[in-house]
């Protein structure tokens, strides 16, 4: 009935049964095609995330909705396709409000994993910071709409025993979210509920009381890439003109100094560092002003007030290369949790209505000497051009050190999978 056909994926000849799903065939043959919605037992395939877009017989098409047929020519790994896939995953990061350091699913999250596999340090898109509510109404689950990537898995796969859907899309366009039926949700067994949480590729479906907590380094996506060649990716940052002394400046804007702490974690290499570079303006030296032009400026934290804007611009003027260090600096990070809430609400909650403030006794501070608070937290690259991004909360010390060495002395390097984190 079904016959075998020969197809070619990136020049590799593969034999497979005719009519089977290309994505499944690729996986069986050890070819990694990134995807977030594909789930082999769902038929017809979902085709929602589009991350597996390849060139199939010359046309752009997702691998997951392609049936294998004789002579199929598939291109997976071309620079253009890899960039396209990166863009799609970046879109998900910028569309939702994904704060990895504060997410239960961190380390077990498929979205995060794809970010690592594709080496996304910063999204090219503006973060949209759309206000989304969290639905605490279901008896057992919490729907964290900020994290949902609308992959459709739960909609199609999670049903009650009499075949009723528990999840369905609501609204449309950029207002789309996955609605949950409270009544049907309550009818799921514990196992079925846990399954819903498991198949969710992000942390959007959380079952109360079910913990994923595992130590760093032991979580699902912590250590090993699924791509054997991952660690061979070489990087090279454009270098500044050579000068005899290497001068570094650092600053923490709207950050917590955690990234500076991580800087110290390079351990004994710190001794080399001290010999090889000198620090100019930095919390480490406590220089308040620049005393000379610098080779690198390392920025921790995003931009939340007028003083941050000015400092950041000063850094841009004084440094040849600017490096965004850590999640807050890269895209805003944890402080952006305020971005979907009006500033007045934030200030009033903090200064006037908080549990510890006496009614009528407090004011919202305003003085010409105080920096002005911005309407939202901005990423550094919304204010100035940033040359290199080191993600993480905080970033891995080895990652920082490799990047710095590359900038200063041109040593080519590769970041190990385990050194690339968002949390």
């Amino acid at each position: 009935m079904s016959k075998n056909v020969t197809i070619s994926i990136d020049g590799k000849t593969i034999t497979a049964e005719e009519g089977r799903n290309l994505m499944a065939v690729a996986r069986e043959n050890g070819i990694f095609i990134p995807s977030l919605c594909f789930y082999e037992h769902i038929e017809p395939p979902l085709g929602t995330c589009r991350v597996c877009t390849c060139r199939i017989n010359g046309k752009y098409s997702p691998a997951c909705t392609e049936k294998v047929s004789e002579g199929l020519q598939v291109e997976v790994n071309t620079p253009e396709l890899n960039d396209t896939r990166k863009a799609l995953v970046e879109m998900m990061f910028s569309e939702g409000n994904h704060v990895c350091p504060a997410c239960e699913k961190s380390g077990h999250c498929d979205l995060q994993h794809m970010g690592y596999e594709l080496g996304i340090s910063a999204t090219r898109f503006p973060h949209l910071f759309k206000d989304r509510l969290i639905d605490f109404n279901p008896r057992r689950m919490v729907m964290e709409h900020n994290r949902c990537i609308k992959c459709l898995r739960c909609v199609v796969d999670v049903k009650t025993r009499d075949g009723k859907k528990v999840f369905t899309y609501q609204n449309r366009g950029n207002e789309t979210f996955v609605g949950i039926d409270y009544e049907q949700e309550a009818r799921l067994s514990e196992e079925e509920a846990a399954n819903a949480m498991r198949i969710c590729p992000t942390g959007a479906i959380i079952v109360r009381g079910v913990s994923l907590a595992e130590p760093f380094g032991e979580r699902k996506f912590d250590m090993e890439s699924v791509q054997p060649s991952y660690n061979e990716r070489k990087k090279n940052i454009p270098r500044p003109p050579m000068m005899s002394k290497k001068i570094v400046a650092t600053v923490s804007l709207a950050g917590c100094f955690g990234c500076h702490m991580s800087l110290l974690d390079v351990d004994e290499e710190l001794l080399d560092l001290v010999e090889l570079v000198s620090f100019d303006k930095s919390p480490l030296t406590d220089f308040k002003n620049f005393t000379s032009r610098c080779h690198i400026g390392i920025i921790e934290g995003g931009v939340c007030n007028s003083e941050n804007v000015e400092t950041l611009r000063r850094f841009r003027e004084q440094c040849d290369i600017l490096v965004s260090l850590g999640e807050c600096s890269v895209w805003g990070g944890l402080p952006t949790m305020r971005n979907s809430i009006p500033l007045s609400e934030c200030l009033e909650e903090a200064y006037l209505n908080s549990a510890t403030s006496e009614p009528g006794a407090n004011i919202i501070p305003y003085h010409e000497d105080l920096p002005k608070i911005l309407d939202r937290v901005y990423a550094c690259n919304e204010i100035v051009k940033i040359d290199y991004y080191i993600p993480g909360c905080p970033p891995d010390a080895n990652h920082i050190w490799k990047a710095v060495r590359n900038i200063l002395w041109g040593e080519e390097y590769s970041i190990l999978y385990s050194e690339f984190k968002y949390d």
């Binding site: 589009r50 991350v51 396209t84 369905t168 500033l343 200030l347 305003y366």
Partner: protein, 579 residues
């Protein structure tokens, strides 16, 4: 037998919406039980269509068109007048619960803008005084039905020498005898010879589609007419339904006869609810004559039925697989290309979907013979095409042109006023500059490099119009009409809008233009259906064709390492706390 019943869901929702002005919680629960669904599923369907509401919409529901053509013709003033007269702001109901005022994209009346629907009856060529009168009468209790307009057909041009294909008088049953004579094969041969191709804009050869459905072994098969022309600026199907419903019905019958299907459905867009009655009357005429709903004596006893299904306000349902989902009573989310509709379409059965113009053309070709039809037009692109012309011209309306007419000729015919920028085939189509006015309109060129393929919408913009504002209108349209199922379209349109706003505010640099182009290309390559694939077409074309215009919008000072940042705007919220 659980599944097919959901096909009735949309109708029941319509009944409730029209009766009560909204769909309440109890309705949702009742419907869920009736259809064996969970509440959230019914809720998901309701929230997909913008003519369904979950809150009361008032006694009179006003939908004001906010498409770009309406915008040119004074939409803003009309909106203000409506708001003042009704006491309702856009998106709300007035305090007395009498008027609900909402915006909706193109309602298919671009030749008589500004226009609105009140309780789904059309009101055209609005001005402040007219709006005042209308609201005044409604307040006195006059029904909208009795004072609505009968939109003019505005058929402005037909091929010279009485060579019209679409608008000749049509005698019911006139195609059937010939069809019986030449048989199903003969019908396909005729269409092949006439080179009829899908007029929805994809131009897939009609005979191929019909043949594919014909060769499917399993039945039942379905014939579906896509009367969901939602592309802003298009209204040709409105005019065809209003004047040529007989040829539409016969086109569908011929298709049914050719592929072996017994049932036809016309999916009529919600905006054309006012045409539903007329269409159903035409179907009844055919039934009375024994040509529908009974073994047809003129067609070897072939029996065919047609009914009308209303859409409920969703542009994406014009995409054929989204339309199928909608027909099945679901959210109108396009399917993947895992199956083609001719294999597994409506209710997973072989299905042919064509639009109104295609069916009308098919009937006319059988009536007049393909040999006569190919005398019109140009070699390789024979026949005629209906265009809906709107925007900055004196004579907006329907133009039945022979393929091969140049843009310049058409602009002259419609008395365009200082044309500068022309949007062909709607926002998802292509924009052309007046410099290209000698390009022909034909279906010759697959990639539309030399000739222009036109789906039907032809919007003219004069030199006074702000191109970025036009593109922003399109982006807003795609953003809210995206079904939300795939990432590039759902997030992409939102992102593109943000970027365009930067451009509009003078904050963009050359890099932003490059980004727009690259991101648009990514959306084009990866989106799930035509909506996302074409949403950035105009933008990409416009940036090439109007490069100087865009360059003039850029911020040149901050092109280096620092980016422009509007500190004043960013600190405005905080400045409120200054004593």
């Amino acid at each position: 037998m659980e599944a097919p019943r959901q096909t009735l869901l949309l109708n029941q929702l319509w009944d409730l919406q029209l009766k009560n002005g909204y769909i309440n919680d109890q309705d949702i629960k009742d419907l869920a039980i009736r259809f064996g669904l969970s509440d959230v599923e019914v809720e998901g369907v309701v929230s997909f269509y913008h003519f369904f509401h979950r809150k009361p919409t008032g006694k009179y529901v006003i939908y004001l068109n906010n498409s770009i053509v309406a915008d040119l013709k004074g939409f803003r003033r009309i909106r203000e007048t409506f708001e003042r007269e009704t006491g309702a702001t856009v998106g709300t109901v007035d305090r007395t619960g009498t008027f609900g005022l909402f915006l909706t994209p193109c309602i298919g009346l671009s030749d008589q803008e500004p226009s609105a629907l009140i309780n789904f009856y059309p009101f055209t060529n609005l001005n402040a005084i007219k709006v005042k009168d209308i609201i005044g009468m409604l307040k006195k209790g006059v029904s909208p039905e009795s004072i609505c307009d009968q939109p003019a057909d505005n058929i402005r041009y037909m091929p010279a020498g009485n060579k019209t294909v679409f608008f000749k008088s049509f005698k019911a049953g006139c195609t059937l005898e010939r069809a019986a004579l030449i048989g199903p094969e003969g019908i396909l041969d005729e269409l092949k010879k006439a080179e009829l191709a899908g007029r929805g804009g994809a131009y897939y050869p009609t005979w191929k589609k019909w043949l594919a459905a014909k060769s499917q072994p399993a039945g039942p098969k379905y014939i579906i007419c896509n009367a969901d022309e939602g592309e802003p600026g298009t209204f040709k199907d409105r005019v065809l339904i209003n004047t040529q419903s007989a040829s539409l019905i016969e086109g569908m019958m011929l298709c049914g006869y050719a592929v072996g299907a017994a049932e036809g459905i016309i999916y009529l867009r919600g905006e054309y609810r006012w045409l539903k009655h007329k269409l159903e009357e035409a179907i009844q005429e055919y039934e009375k004559a024994g040509l529908l709903g009974a073994p047809n004596p003129k067609l070897n006893g072939f029996r065919f039925d047609i009914h009308v299904q209303m859409g409920a306000g969703s542009y994406v349902c014009g995409e054929e697989t989204a339309l199928l989902e909608s027909l099945e009573g679901k959210r109108g989310e396009p399917r993947t290309k895992w199956y083609f509709p001719v294999e597994k379409g409506y209710l997973q059965q072989p299905t042919v979907i064509n639009n109104v113009e295609t069916f009308c053309a098919a009937a006319r070709i059988i009536e007049m013979t393909a040999d006569a039809y190919i005398q019109l037009g140009i070699p390789g692109s024979p026949g005629v095409k209906l265009l809906s012309v709107s925007g900055d011209c004196r004579l907006p309306g329907i133009y039945e042109i022979e393929w091969g007419m140049t843009v310049a000729e058409l602009l002259e015919l419609c008395e365009a006023e200082d044309p500068y920028y022309i949007q062909v085939s709607g926002p998802s189509g292509e924009c052309i500059s007046i410099k290209e006015k000698f390009r022909r309109i034909s279906m010759l060129d697959l990639l539309a490099r030399k000739d222009i393929r036109c789906g039907g919408s032809f919007m003219i913009f004069s030199r006074q119009r702000d191109l970025v504002k036009v593109l922003l209108n399109f982006t807003e349209f795609f953003k809210s009409e995206s079904c939300g199922i795939c990432t590039p379209c759902r997030a992409g349109n939102f992102i593109i809008q943000r970027k365009l706003e930067r451009l509009d505010n003078g904050l963009a640099t050359e890099k932003d233009l490059e980004d727009l182009k690259n991101w648009g290309t990514i959306m084009k390559n990866t989106s799930r259906c035509g909506l996302g694939k074409t949403a950035t077409n105009s933008l990409i074309y416009a940036m090439d064709k109007f490069h100087d215009y865009f360059a003039g919008k850029l911020d040149k000072e901050f092109n280096g390492l620092n980016l422009r940042f509007d500190m004043e705007a960013a600190t405005r919220d905080y400045e409120k706390y200054k004593n």
